[in-house]
């Protein structure tokens, strides 16, 4: 059974310098009860995809079905079976947490009594009971996100869309939100989540679609994607002035392209043969008198996957060329 399916989604936004193809033929399929992670940098088209699937935006081409219903033909039915928690927490800050959730319940037409009962239940579940009757503007960032996520769950929808649920949260709130999402999945909810964090996709998603410049450039489970990368990675950090020599020493060893970080003086090389390659590398460094500060083998991460697929890192902070240089109208609200 398929909960969400999309075929050839295209969305073009007008911009000052012509047109931006925010989506350029996106295909997706999410089986019932599973979690799809849409992974990509800012401006890749993740948010636009979510906005189309949640009926906020009409595609310029292609089709999408959510819970078996076409999003363009019958948006109102789609809305009855989804919950959306956005990148910008859509919490009304002058209303209390309880009022926020009761209001959403009423707008789902649960009726006053059920809306109030459901609000109380969710406040309890999301650990917001103590703050329930305070205006949401007094909430911390993590509390707002939890309240926003609770808002998406008011009607107990079978399918949930989470657009960058943890962007901008501190690590503790992030872990807390991950727990909540994992609970939902255990209860059988289908989740489509977008993220620019590799560890988040790795942790939460059953399968991952890597999105870049409006296209899905790779898909599979986290392990499958990593397996595509072949063997392990040999990472070495060298002393000042030794980077060039280290690069030369590893060039002969690597079975793929080297990833060099000038700033951290680190070279990462895909290698075959694991520990043999490690011993070989140590010998070469020793012979050339290269000062090694740290050396080790590791399994490929999703960042390696991203780098190999796109030629740039997934996370802007990971260094490398600037990502998301394509105009990102769809991610930036006016």
């Amino acid at each position: 059974m398929t909960a969400i399916s999309a075929e050839g989604l295209v969305k073009v936004f007008p911009s000052r310098s012509g047109e931006v193809r925010a989506l350029d033929g996106v295909d997706l399929e999410v089986p019932v009860g599973s979690v799809l992670g849409l992974l990509g940098p800012n401006g890749a088209g993740k948010t636009t995809t979510v906005r189309i699937l949640t009926t906020l935006l009409a595609p310029d081409a292609g089709h999408a079905r959510v819970n078996g219903v076409d999003v363009v033909a019958d948006p109102q039915s789609v809305r009855r079976s989804i919950g959306l928690s956005g990148q910008y927490a859509a919490v009304d800050e002058y209303l209390t947490g309880r009022e926020n959730l009761t209001m959403i319940g009423r707008l789902y037409h649960l009726g006053g009594t059920r809306a109030r009962a459901r609000a109380a239940e969710l406040l309890e579940q999301f650990d917001l009971t103590a703050a329930a009757d305070r205006p949401a503007k007094t909430y911390s960032g993590g509390m707002r996100r939890r309240l926003d996520l609770a808002g998406a769950l008011v009607a107990g929808p079978p399918i949930i869309f989470l657009d960058e649920p943890t962007t901008g949260l501190d690590p503790r709130s992030r872990l807390g939100l991950w727990d909540v999402i994992e609970d939902l999945v255990r209860e059988g909810t289908t989740v489509l989540l977008t993220t620019q964090y590799l560890d988040e996709a790795d942790k939460l998603a059953d399968s991952i679609a890597v999105v870049d410049r409006g296209r899905v450039i790779a898909r599979g489970t986290s392990d499958e994607l990593k397996a595509q990368m072949g063997g392990e990675r040999l990472a070495v950090t060298v002393g000042p002035g030794h980077l060039g020599a280290a690069r030369e020493a590893l060039a002969g060893l690597a079975n793929g392209e080297l990833d060099v970080d000038e700033h951290a003086r680190t070279v990462v090389a895909p290698v075959a043969g694991g520990s043999t390659a490690l011993l070989d590398a140590v010998r070469r460094f020793d012979e050339s008198g290269i000062e090694v500060l740290d050396i080790g083998l590791r399994r490929p991460t999703l960042d390696d996957v991203f780098l190999q697929l796109t030629g740039h890192h997934a996370e802007p902070t990971a260094g490398g060329p600037e990502v998301g240089t394509a105009p990102s109208a769809q991610e930036v609200r006016p």
Partner: protein, 268 residues
Amino acid sequence: MSDIAQSLSDTGTITWRNITRLRRQPDSIFFGIVQSVMFVLLFAFVFGGAIQVPGGEDYTEYLMGGIFVQTVAFTCATTCIAMADDLSRGVFDRFRSLPMSRSAVLAGRTFADLAFAGVTTGAMAVTGLLVGWSTHSTALEVLAGFALLALFAYAFLWIGAVIGLSVRSVEVAQTAGLIWLFPLTFMSNAFVPLESMPSWLQPVAAWNPISSVVAAVRDLFGNVPAGYAAPEYWPLQNPLLASVLWCLVILALFVPMGVLRYRRAASR
């Protein structure tokens, strides 16, 4: 629930939300009241001596109709800012992802702001009574006058809503919601009689919807001096009919435009 019942229930919920928001910002209500009281006092005392009104009447009598209309018209700037603000915060995305009525968000906004306009109108009426204004008509006519003000306010709030949904930021909304109201309210009979304007401006002012409403409100409150002959323009000869027609035309144009804008707004 039927579609209409759902629509009404959604409108009620959104109206409640907006009124609750207003109540939690007592300073904005306070300044709304201060502003309207201040306008009454400024015009009554500063211009009161300088402006000649038809029939040599007391200027305060003449003024109140105009100031009521101006103040409720200015309420639409509030609507404009609130719309732009909601739009910028992602609250509309949440609303639009819910299986709720599309028009309820706008209807709920305008109803809440109409309640706010009611509060400021009350404050003005009390201030007016304190500085010497009074009505000289039946209770029913006075009631009709306030009802007309409410209809006019409601129509204008939709203009504010459309502007708020059309601009790209709250900062722009603060100016765009307000700026056009100055020429509109001042190029009317709100504060000065039409007869004192240059002859080329008189027809413009006569066909200004503000003038019709002001004239009709003055009529209904009994603030038109005995024997005063209204200028020879149809909207001023039949101010009540003209006012109602103006309001209906504005609603017929701006309600569908607002709903359309709302649907498209989040897709920018």
